[in-house]
């Protein structure tokens, strides 16, 4: 079981009707592996995620997933004024397992509450989603994916806009989910985060590199990924990426 990759992408190209915006992507992730996907805006991170979610067909190549997939979108994309509680959002994860004409019952409510407890929000089940903090909303969406019993979780910049303690909490949660055998793919701008994960995939309209962080996160790769917008920080000599809005075309 552990031998089979949970995600297997082979010579993938994808686009939106015109020429592909992402080409030559080939990588695999085993169950329990955490993969950070790095790249500039427009580099193809969300295109890859949409293909993995089954939302966009591959133009060439294949993208195969073993097991169920779950998505944890950026919470700003959800409608924060929506009249839903944390529990309501978690319950949305049960819908994929029910026939479309069935409403969630007692069992589904229990699973949603359990998932909220797992992400540490057991006592905020009744709170309005829009009134939660950014990190709490992120965790509610993780709970929704857990309720779906997702084997592969696609996380879209989960650390953007959350403070340091919250980021640590989320990081611990993701580690635990990976330890339980789930595969995590995270789109991110954050080099520090990426360094802490098992694998790094660098994209800039094509695949630049894939492998363990130590091997991948070299100056050459980062410059190819971010187009030369990499600076070396004085202390420790580590590379950092300039904030995205400084070097957007």
């Amino acid at each position: 079981m552990t031998g089979d990759p949970a995600v297997q992408v082979t010579r993938l190209a994808a686009g939106y009707g015109g020429p592909p915006v992402l080409v030559d992507v080939t990588f695999a992730a085993r169950p329990g592996e955490r993969v950070a996907v790095l790249g500039p805006n427009g580099g193809g991170k969300s295109t890859l995620f949409r293909v993995l979610l089954g939302d966009l067909p591959a133009a060439r190549g294949t993208a195969e997933l073993l097991g169920r997939r779950g998505t944890v979108p950026q919470t700003e994309r959800s409608r924060l004024d929506f009249p839903v509680s944390a529990l309501d959002v978690a319950l949305m994860g049960t819908l994929s397992r029910l026939p479309w004409w069935k409403r969630p019952g007692r069992d589904e409510h229990r699973r949603a509450r359990d998932a909220l407890a797992v992400v540490g929000l057991g006592d905020l089940a009744g709170a309005s989603f829009g009134e939660l903090s950014g990190g709490q909303r992120q965790r509610v969406l993780v709970a929704r994916a857990l309720v779906q019993e997702a084997d592969v979780l696609l996380l879209d910049e989960p650390f953007s806009g959350v403070d340091e303690p919250t980021a640590r909490q989320l990081e611990a949660l993701f580690d635990r989910l990976a330890a339980e055998g789930r595969t995590l793919l995270m789109a991110t701008h954050d080099l520090e985060q990426a360094r802490a994960w098992d694998r790094v995939l660098c994209l800039n309209r094509r695949q630049i590199a894939f492998g363990p962080p130590d091997a991948v996160l070299t100056r050459e790769v980062l410059e190819a990924t971010y187009g030369g917008a990499v600076v070396t920080l004085p202390e420790g000599g580590e590379e950092a990426v300039l904030p995205a809005h400084h070097h957007e075309h």
């Binding site: 409608r79 839903v84 949305m92 479309w100 009134e131 994916a145």
Partner: protein, 583 residues
């Protein structure tokens, strides 16, 4: 003690209003509709479907035309068209890429265009279409109640079963497929249900009320609630309250109930929005509610009858006949007012009340005032109904404008006389004297018009009018109807470019000197044709209704005399032609 009295009087007045049977049926209809409208309203607001819900009722138009043309029940045609509309929007709108608005607008334009073409060019006489869409809270029948109840029951069931799914797909549309909801069925059901509820409300209460019931109350409550269930419950309650209060205001003010409820709902929304933005100060809300209550309460009740027999007349000319024959012995309640198109009419509470208390109802018949039958049926009284269209000797197919032939007018006046005698035998002598005097004047006018037109060469007596309303007049006085701007006996059809071009050519070939706009219609097209052809559009005719008080056409005799003078002056080009033709 004083406070009790002060409170008891308005309460008693409210009780009076709700003791009227037609008001009670309206209340039941509003309460039945409130459940479905409130529930679906929250989904409409949540999912951004306000424009869709407004459009789907309007898009029923081609279905109504086809139902009328092929002769099956109007609601079936409306439902079929609305369901097709729902399916088309549901299929074409990919919620993740573009909103529903663009697709809705595209299909709505298509549906309206199709309806106009069907009405104007396929089923040439679509005279009934507008009456099929007629609906008012004051004339609710058992079928309307059953439909409203069924719709509300379906809305409750669907909300229980599918509410979670509707919520999830609205929450983040991007993730709906990703979290495994691949079926389009729940959204299609939501569209279909909104279509059904809209058409049900449309046929029962009219187009204006649909948004007032379905969108405004849900949007109002949305300002204050942060959860689905309280939002839905409060919206149902608010729809019910606004509906009942609006109905009461409509009876007190004698306003159309649809408009009263829509205004009330809009006012409540404005007050609520203001209260929310103004730092949630309750004083503003209280002030607003007090202001609304004062406005609502400031109106007096309608005056009471003075014991004379009440006679209801649908059109202005029939009202004139009734007043001429009845004189001071009767009270005439005339439903249509001068310059109102009989095709666009929503009854007011006073109309229904008058029909409920009337001894005699006089209608034009020939599909001009089909709504009158419904008003009488639902009013709850038992008046005699006289269809004058069946009493006149000269008929042109289904052309309802029979009064433009004075021979018919004489027959109608005689029939009105007979019916008044039956309704109030005590005033037999008065009615006979009045009728005889009036008939003499009609005959004298008829002779004067005939004498005038015989002096005009037949080749000059060529008539082009706005819509085909003067066939009776033309036949009586030997006038050649060359054409009409709207080539139909209804004002609802539209002229095509080909129609206008043919008419232009005809006017030039026949050397027609004048095109006549009608007093109750827009003169634009007639004026444009006059410009193209060199004819004049200076003379206006009274077609469907009498003119307002003080105008030459304020009475039936004045109307026919004015029409005769206008035609004679246009035919001859002499501004003094037939000047002697006066009532």
């Amino acid at each position: 003690m004083q406070a009790t009295v002060a409170l008891a009087t308005p309460l008693a007045a409210i009780g009076d209003v709700f003791s009227l049977p037609f008001v009670q049926r309206g209340v039941v209809e509003v309460l039945l509709l409130a459940v479905g409208a409130g529930l679906l309203g929250t989904w409409i607001v949540l999912r951004g479907l306000a424009f869709y819900s407004h459009a789907v009722g309007t898009a029923a138009f081609p279905g109504l035309v086809v139902a009328d043309g092929l002769g099956f029940a109007a609601p079936i045609g409306a439902f079929a068209a609305a369901a097709l509309f729902a399916a088309a929007v549901g299929r074409l709108a990919d919620s993740r890429r573009r909103g529903y608005d663009v697709v809705t607008a595209l299909i709505l334009v298509g549906a309206l265009a199709l309806g106009v073409i069907l009405a104007s060019d396929v089923f040439h006489s679509a005279a009934n279409v507008e009456t099929l869409l007629f609906g008012s809270l004051l004339v609710i029948d058992a079928g309307d109640l059953a439909l409203a109840g069924a719709t509300s029951a379906l809305a409750v069931l669907a909300t229980l079963a599918l509410g979670r799914t509707w919520l999830a797909s609205g929450f983040d549309a991007d993730a709906t497929r990703a979290i495994g909801m691949r079926s389009r069925a729940p959204d299609l059901i939501l569209f279909a249900l909104i279509a059904l509820a809209t058409v049900a409300a449309l046929s029962a209460v009219g187009a204006l009320l649909v948004s007032a019931l379905f969108v405004v109350p849900a949007a109002t409550v949305r300002l204050w609630t942060r959860r689905m269930l309280p939002w839905q419950i409060a919206t149902v309650v608010l729809v019910a309250v606004e509906g009942v209060v609006g109905l009461w205001i409509s009876v007190e003010w004698n306003a159309p109930p649809g408009a009263a409820i829509a205004l009330l709902a809009g006012g409540v929304f404005a007050v609520a929005a203001l209260a929310v933005t103004r730092a949630r100060r309750p004083a503003v809300l209280v002030g607003g509610i007090v202001a609304l209550a004062v406005v609502a309460g400031g109106c007096g009740a309608a005056g009471s009858s003075d014991g004379k027999p009440e006679v209801v007349a649908t059109t202005t000319q029939i009202g004139d006949f009734a007043r001429a024959v009845g004189g001071d012995a009767i009270d005439v309640h005339q439903i249509l007012q001068p310059n109102t198109d009989p095709h666009d009419y929503e009854p007011r509470p006073a109309d229904v009340q008058a029909a409920a208390g009337a001894r005699l109802v006089l209608v034009n018949g020939d599909d001009l005032d089909v709504w009158a039958k419904k008003v009488v049926e639902e009013a709850g009284g038992h008046p005699a109904v006289l269809d004058l269209g069946t009493k006149v000797p000269v008929k042109r197919g289904s052309d309802p404008h029979w009064w433009h032939d004075p021979v018919n007018a004489q027959a109608a006046v005689s029939a009105v006389h007979d019916a008044l005698v039956r309704a109030d035998p005590g005033h037999r002598a008065t009615f006979a004297r009045n009728a005889a005097a009036y008939l003499r004047r009609v005959r004298a006018l008829d002779a004067a018009i005939r004498a005038c037109f015989t002096r005009i060469p037949a080749s000059d007596r060529k008539l082009v009018t706005d819509h085909d309303a003067f066939g009776y007049f033309a036949r009586r006085y030997g006038i050649d109807v060359v054409g009409a701007v709207i080539p139909s006996q209804t004002t609802q059809a539209q002229a095509s470019a080909g129609d206008v071009a043919r008419l232009d050519a005809l006017i030039k070939r026949e050397d027609v000197r004048a095109v006549f706009p009608e007093s109750s219609l827009s003169p634009k097209l007639a004026q444009a044709i006059a410009r193209d052809t060199g004819a004049t559009a200076r003379y206006t005719l009274y077609g469907d209704t009498l003119g307002p008080r003080g105008s030459a056409g304020a009475t039936y005799l004045g109307m026919e005399a004015a029409n005769a003078r206008a035609m004679a002056q246009a035919f001859t080009g002499r501004p003094d032609a037939c000047e002697g033709v006066r009532p």
